[in-house]
Symmetry: C2
Subunit: 339 residues, 2 copies
């Protein structure tokens, strides 16, 4: 099988955790043993937790020797896991091949550099999607290459760059996306469209964003709470985007402790934050600020006897994630001729 095949497995896995790794990039890694057998397909899942390469190395070693599981289970954090791997790997990954969607980091962060880990494992070859352009982390490919590891960069570069885009936008100051739930026939209104899996996913993202934007109409009509209870996590700060400034203070979203709520007829605040989610309906989507390129569609598995949302809009669908009872579509606008 081709390098593209293995890297696409890493890309798919990474998308499962897209946005959930904030402020880190979504990264996936696949390891093949010296004979070309797949040992692991892993992703970075959450900031503060293990990098994709560390997760994949752990799983690969455990697949070679299951007795390592109890040893690695003792690790209380990624740093301890890293050290346990260095102490116990017994060259089981000698001459392995690593596929990583992003150049392995070369810097000491919460864990030692992934590039050093890969070298310590005795990898023969590392295949990389996107080059790391960050000041701190870059240089992993050169380090590996200088130390005799065969390195190929730029395989599936377009797909890996797309995967990386939210991170690059966080780095440059602002990533903002619009989220909407739709039925199979384009209905966005009239009760809960999305299923429990998709709502849990939304709540996970809500717990991470620096700001959540919602339209004044939605607040008035739905009287939402907009918290992250399904993720058991903190509720996001809210910007109510509205030309009206009078809201019933009994609406649940105002009652959430330790939350900032701002009402404004401008989206300026949203473009000043690093990570922003807009939850809205038809009007919001129709009049979407041209700077908002990313759209996340939760698609349910049913048709509903109701009106669709109506607008002209072309999408580039970057990735599809299957949910238990529906689908997540990661989209970018190609252009919009909204009337």
């Amino acid at each position: 099988m081709s390098d593209e095949f293995y890297l696409s497995l890493a890309i798919d896995k990474a998308w499962d955790y897209q946005l959930l790794t904030y402020p880190n990039p979504a990264v996936g890694a696949v390891i093949l043993d010296e004979n070309g057998k797949i040992l692991s397909i892993c992703a970075h899942q959450k900031a503060g937790e293990a990098h994709a390469e560390l997760n994949a190395t752990k799983e690969a070693l455990e697949s070679k020797d299951s007795s390592l599981k109890s040893i690695f289970a003792a690790a209380k954090n990624p740093n301890e896991l890293y050290n346990l791997i260095i102490q116990n790997h017994r060259n089981l990954l000698k001459n392995s091949t690593y596929y990583v969607t992003l150049e392995p980091c070369a810097h000491q962060g919460k864990t030692p550099p992934c590039a050093s880990l890969i070298l310590a494992m005795g990898a023969r070859r590392v295949v990389i999607g996107s080059k790391d352009l960050g000041e701190h982390a870059k240089g992993g490919a050169k380090f590996l290459s200088d130390n005799g590891v065969e390195v190929d960069i730029g395989v599936c570069a377009k797909e890996c760059d797309e995967l990386l885009e939210p991170f690059l936008r966080w780095q440059s100051g602002n990533f903002i996306f619009f989220k909407i739930a739709l039925t199979q026939n384009g209905v966005a209104t009239g009760g809960v469209i999305s299923n429990l899996t998709s709502r849990a996913h939304t709540h996970q993202i809500r717990s991470l964003v620096d700001l959540m934007v919602v339209g004044g109409n939605t607040v008035g009509i739905d009287r939402p709470i907009l918290d992250a209870r399904l993720a058991n996590d903190r509720a996001p700060n809210i910007l109510i985007y509205s030309s009206k400034f009078e809201f019933d203070s009994q609406i649940p979203l105002f009652k959430v402790p330790n939350r900032e709520v701002t009402i404004s007829n401008s989206l300026k605040l949203a473009f000043e934050k690093r990570f922003v989610m807009i939850e809205g309906g038809e009007n919001f989507l129709k009049n979407l600020d041209s700077r908002v390129e990313w759209i996340l569609i939760y698609r349910s598995n049913e048709f509903k006897m109701a009106e669709n949302i109506k607008l002209n809009l072309k999408l580039n669908i970057l990735h599809r994630t299957r949910l238990d009872d529906g689908e997540l579509l990661w989209c970018k606008r190609v252009n919009s001729e909204q009337k």
Copy 2:
């Protein structure tokens, strides 16, 4: 990686040719070498062409020794390919593992049995999704097992059985499905929704079906030709399902040579044929005969400023196939409460 992982690769590949293999089943096969490296992921593509196991064996051997490509290229049909493989394999697949979505056939058809091929390759293990219940082809698993090959049946059985369902319905006399093209916001009307890739796919299916059903309204309004020009193949016979019996004989579909056209206010004819496609719009879908369970949705990548189709309908989405500029959704109705 698990058996489920490798079999899912075979399942995905097989869906790429779902329905296109008529009257044969859609089947996928994956081969791992003696060390667990993936050598090939292949499918049966078309009746009269090579079975999935034969395609996968050819590719696997070629990946072990590329000089075999020119030898195998001389085969003028699957039977010759089979013989060239038997003569030239040099035990390159000794101790390999085969993953197949359907039990390998044990009968002499247009090619010798796939079970014999797998045995001749020296496979160590065969992992099978669905059991073959057909009178002619069954017995492959037992043959392999009796000859010392390790055989596991029933991995991903649900997914493999779903993949097989059109074939089982062909076998029992009738497989009928409804096809519709929808935008992201559920619009089915107003010009071509689907893109060229999806229309070419439709034309491929049209060239295979025993009957194509279309509503009288569509015929009157769209004045279609309903041929298979994008597949360069024969146009299907047509049943116009209509309570009206007067049509302008200048409508292009009536002008296609060697085509049977029937007008009826009953779908009876459709349930007497083995393989039937219904192409219709909102009304057809709303009043869909309860015996029509399968729905094929071509989803474009755009929103359109127009009305959606309106009905209540729950779907079980069996598979998604990505197209160049859209998506194919293979669905079954869970239930429908149409009002």
